[in-house]
Symmetry: C2
Subunit: 97 residues, 2 copies
């Protein structure tokens, strides 16, 4: 068991890839995982955490959920992009065989 | 000023339409507005609340942010779809002229 805060950044890969990554982290004993996404990937992050909740039989809960913005792009051409950080709390996810 | 909880459901319309709706509600004195979205519209909801935060000069804050799933579709063909509910708190948005 680790008290270290793990992070998954949900990007362009398929949803299932992040779902598996999150289940594996929790199954290995991570107590908290921050699932983070920018812009159009925010919906995907929520699909991922809800899939993991269903697949593990409600063995995760939500901690703090943060919304804020960050600047991306070239100097003087920065664009503000929203970010979500979802704190996923391990309520007893079993190790995957 | 109203203590009633207002709700905006972010759907298929353009982001700007919901941004305007939210600014108007807050400008008219709504103390709290729940911004709700399903599935692929979740990202759009976060774009909307962050746009309103910027446009109003940080005159909104976030209250409780909830994530859960709901079943949609025909009987025996239901599909689970994630939902977000973002509680937006009015920190002094001025009425729009």
């Amino acid at each position: 068991m680790s008290q270290f805060v793990h992070e998954i950044v949900v990007g362009e890969k398929h949803e299932g890839s992040y779902t598996l990554e999150l289940i594996n982290m929790l199954g290995k004993g991570a107590q908290r995982v921050i699932v983070k996404a920018h812009g159009r990937n925010i919906s995907k992050a929520v699909y991922v955490t809800e899939s993991v909740r269903r697949l593990t039989g409600d063995k995760i809960g939500y901690g703090k959920i943060k919304i804020y913005s960050t600047e991306v792009g070239e100097l003087k051409e920065e664009k503000s992009v929203p970010v979500i950080e979802i704190e996923v709390i391990n309520l007893g996810v079993k190790p995957q065989s």
